[in-house]
Symmetry: C2
Subunit: 343 residues, 2 copies
């Protein structure tokens, strides 16, 4: 039914005529068409209005020609649905003015009815699927529980998320209660996304790489495992735990169909750690999109060669930077599309 | 001559009665005694006044009982000596108001006479050695050329240092000219530190982990190699390239005596990558010092057991956080000192 199902076939382990390509944060600030919408509507207004979320989601499909759309939303809609106030300030980042520090704070948080609190996301997905009209698959997503806890406890972005960690080390029972509540909410949320039409899902553990391997298992992976188990039989799932190269083997064992990797691990090591039965997604250095176009094209060819023709989804190793020229993003996508492996 | 030479003996590969311990940024903001000095003098005044640098350097030896002192200074004194204006704002970070972007900018930078421009550091080292009176060794240090380039080009701290990277990708010849000038300055600077009395040296490549493994070789490691080669026969040298676990084997091959590692790599993998002929330094999660003291003590024992009795220097995996209570820092140090391996 889909005209371009390269991404889904790669996630199923099938051979494809070429490597599929999309970019994390592709629906975002490097696009003048996105900025035009941003200048008129607040962040959550854009997320909560299906027509706006739909227009933004489809922009990069039309403008840079990626092989998949990813829902325009934010991982922090889940803490918001759970009862926490979330503010998103342009060019500053998220602010949760009443973060969770104590048992009393935890009592303010609930596992919500997702249709009631996040129905606008499901409506957006339905509209996007209709507007995409089977051109490319739609990726749904959620934040991993550890990464959401980071924001819910720290209350804002951080280089170290030391307050979130201190909360987990000092009050482990409370931390695990919260992580389980986030997990339960996320499972319901992702099932709702699937029901609305998402073709595949990505879990973003943006701060997984801040944890030691032992803490990553306890505070992050055991919850990711529950989520993947709950959805993997319905749609293929991609885990992107930035920086957590040390646990690629364990993440592969969850039953995920793909693993996102950043640019700080060579392709052959990632493949060795993850094993042969899973797709790898990445891993172009986002800052390299600021290079001259011939450098981008050369580096894309090197990346594709390093990963080889099978079970690879070309992507950046993290979100696209806001100062990337659109023609550089397009050069990245086109370089992937034009590459052919020699037989 | 030294009463406590555990650190130096560990760096030479000798067996020791216990594991030595110190903490990155141990002379810093978590100490009320440091804050008292900071409230009276500006940052560079503290660096440039040997009596102040000496007092700050020795504080953690007296207050928390570490096995080594590390010179109080900043890696940005080198760009300053090379002709760039550097401002250090408390609680904000560094600002270089005229960063390097073009050939013309590069012409403003020189390889300076280090005795003329950095003599105050050598004077501080002489005074510290005298005041330490052979209690513990003194560690000198410098920033690795890549990390210094990051600040000299970006002009301030950054999560991604994308402008510094773009400079290197778009103008590689200029970048390598600058990296070589930093390298030449750093070699002269470190030789001056040795002559003044530094017992060992650490090279901080704080942003090495932002580079892909291939870029790390080209933009960082080839310059680190020159520096280590120039000083390693005089004093043992430790390389700390945060996050660059993928190149531990190459760093070990430079002739360094020790490698710093962060908490995101398990001890056994670090040992496997680095080989058996080098000391490993680390790798306690700095945020874990915010845990209750019994948790700190338990985790220290686990760390020491994981690294084993030989060729390990206990340290944090990054600098100590400003919000760590002094008695937690002391608990960390004491837990290392009290631990004995069973025979």
């Amino acid at each position: 039914m889909l005209q371009n199902d390269l991404l889904l076939r790669t996630l199923r382990g099938e051979k494809t005529e070429r490597t599929p390509v999309w970019m994390m944060r592709q629906a975002g600030r490097y696009l003048p068409e996105y900025i035009a919408i941003r200048n008129k509507y607040g962040f959550f207004e854009r997320c909560q209005t299906p027509e706006l979320a739909c227009a933004i989601t489809i922009q990069p499909v039309d403008i840079v020609g990626v092989d998949a759309a990813i829902l325009f939303s934010d991982i922090l809609v889940v803490p918001q649905a759970m009862g926490l106030e979330v503010q998103l300030k342009e060019n500053v980042g998220p602010l949760l003015p009443n973060p969770i520090k104590t048992v009393a704070d935890l009592a303010r948080v609930r596992v919500p009815d997702v249709d009631e609190t996040l129905g606008y996301v499901f409506d957006a997905i339905k509209l996007i699927k209709q507007e995409l009209n089977d051109r490319v698959p739609l990726i749904g997503f959620a934040g991993a529980p550890w990464t959401l806890l980071c924001y819910m406890v720290q209350g804002k972005g951080s280089k170290t998320f030391d307050e979130a960690k201190a909360f987990c080390y000092a009050q482990p029972e409370l931390a695990h209660q919260l992580l389980q509540m986030i997990t339960d909410t996320t499972i319901a949320y992702l099932k709702g996304q699937i029901k609305a039409g998402a073709d595949t899902l990505q879990l973003f553990d943006s701060w997984g790489g801040l944890l030691s391997p032992a803490d990553f298992e306890v505070l992050s992976l055991q919850y990711i495992r529950q989520i993947v188990a709950a959805v993997k039989d319905e749609v293929p799932t991609i885990i992107f735990a930035k920086g957590a190269w040390h646990s690629l083997d364990k993440m592969a064992a969850t039953g995920a169909a793909g693993l996102g990797i950043d640019w700080c691990i060579p392709a052959n090591m990632a493949r060795q750690f993850a094993g042969n039965d899973i797709a790898l997604q990445g891993n172009f250095d986002p800052a390299k999109l600021l290079s001259p176009i011939p450098v981008i094209e050369k580096e894309v060819r090197e990346m594709l060669t390093a990963f080889g023709p099978n079970r690879h989804i070309a992507n950046l190793g993290h979100g696209i930077l806001p100062n990337v020229p659109v023609d550089h993003a397009r050069a990245f996508v086109n370089a992937v599309k034009e590459f052919r492996f020699e037989h």
